[in-house]
Symmetry: C2
Subunit: 228 residues, 2 copies
């Protein structure tokens, strides 16, 4: 049985909605990032610590996806920024229509940065454009250095790899240099950051990346904005 | 757009092949387990340590799935048991037809246990029956206690949860009792084991589980074999 034509139809419909989201983000100068990782790599912890250190008047919002539960939005709402849970009910990824629907009652002109936390899955979310300016792949140091080689699609599409849980490095057989080398085999220009959401190591660099990348986004003319 | 009818067709075709595999495993008394987890939870490490402690004449074989690379089969072949890599090339799960194809040149009457290591993905593999006698979900203690609630399908379908990397418990904010409690909210009769593939803690219990569960499988009359 050939599933490809239907999958292509679903993806091209998704691309249409994503392109319209990208255009709206551009009009309102909203820098949108799409965080993708395995379950438990620490996407929510990364956002918790990020929201904790941002100024209280930062114009930031979060959409967080899960198959079930509102646990993540409950964790993130504590920081006082607009936050919504997207519960997919079984679907293994977020799609552009879900983003569009959950943005309906937010005024994009109130925002500078929109964080999207995808469903925990290193495979399927990489196929669904959400209109983001950048995909970010998060990997924990407990997961093994060969993940970029085994799951190349998301490492090819993400422009930044965040290696999380570096506080555990003394306790796990994991070589962070080898992991970065593997990521750059898949994606030679991959930017890499090492952070610990427990200790805060690497957060200065992560916040700097966000600021610089957002400035680059704002300075890009619409006609030269490219999307992988 | 409604994808459901095609997905149902794909799944019912998969169920047909899986039922035929299940019948063949039954005829040859092969106890087959399907290991499912996030990327990096330690399925391959669990199998490495299991193969290392089994008698050299144990009648055991392994099929190991990944999107790309033959890394896992290279790690597992060292132990001298029949091992094959299934490289899906992008597909986020193993399906019954892949298992059927990769078993073609193995004589099932040579085997007592077949381990199937699925693609690292806590979502999609739970929908694809591979003809196994038991699904086992592996979770690492670095992943957070709420994973059973967020990804309920696989925790509902697995009869055993193996909590791996217990050697890291002193270093991570993780309550293993709470994790088991969450697993049993989804699946009240869930069996739970705690292991460390680094130290070997819990391996006696895991090997005992395998032996007892295999004996139960052998003693079941074909007409009372049930499958979730």
């Amino acid at each position: 049985m050939n599933r490809v034509p239907l999958e292509q139809k679903v993806l091209s419909e998704n691309d249409r909605v994503a392109a319209s989201l990208r255009e709206r983000f551009r009009q309102h100068n909203v820098f949108c990032v799409n965080l993708i990782s395995s379950p438990g790599s620490g996407k929510t912890s990364l956002l918790e610590r990020t929201l904790a250190v941002l100024p209280k008047d930062a114009r930031v919002a979060v959409l967080t996806g899960d198959i079930r539960t509102e646990n993540d939005s409950a964790r993130l709402k504590r920081f006082g920024f607009p936050t919504k849970q997207i519960t997919t009910g079984g679907t293994c990824h977020l799609d552009a229509r879900m983003i569009d629907r959950h943005l309906a009652d937010w005024d994009l002109s109130d925002l500078d940065i929109l964080f999207i936390e995808n469903v925990g899955n290193l495979v399927c979310p990489s196929s669904y454009d959400l209109g983001e300016a950048a995909k970010i792949v998060v990997l924990s140091v407990t997961e093994g250095e060969d993940k970029p080689l085994k799951y190349p699609s998301i490492f090819f599409k993400a422009e930044l790899m965040i290696m999380n849980k570096t506080d555990l490095l003394p306790h796990v057989p994991f070589d962070p240099d080898l992991c970065e080398e593997n990521a750059r085999k898949v994606h030679p220009n991959m930017e890499c950051l090492r952070v610990s959401c427990l200790t805060g190591d690497g957060f200065a660099e992560w916040l700097q990346w966000l600021e610089q990348r957002r400035n680059a986004y704002l300075n890009l003319q619409p006609e030269v904005v490219s999307h992988r």
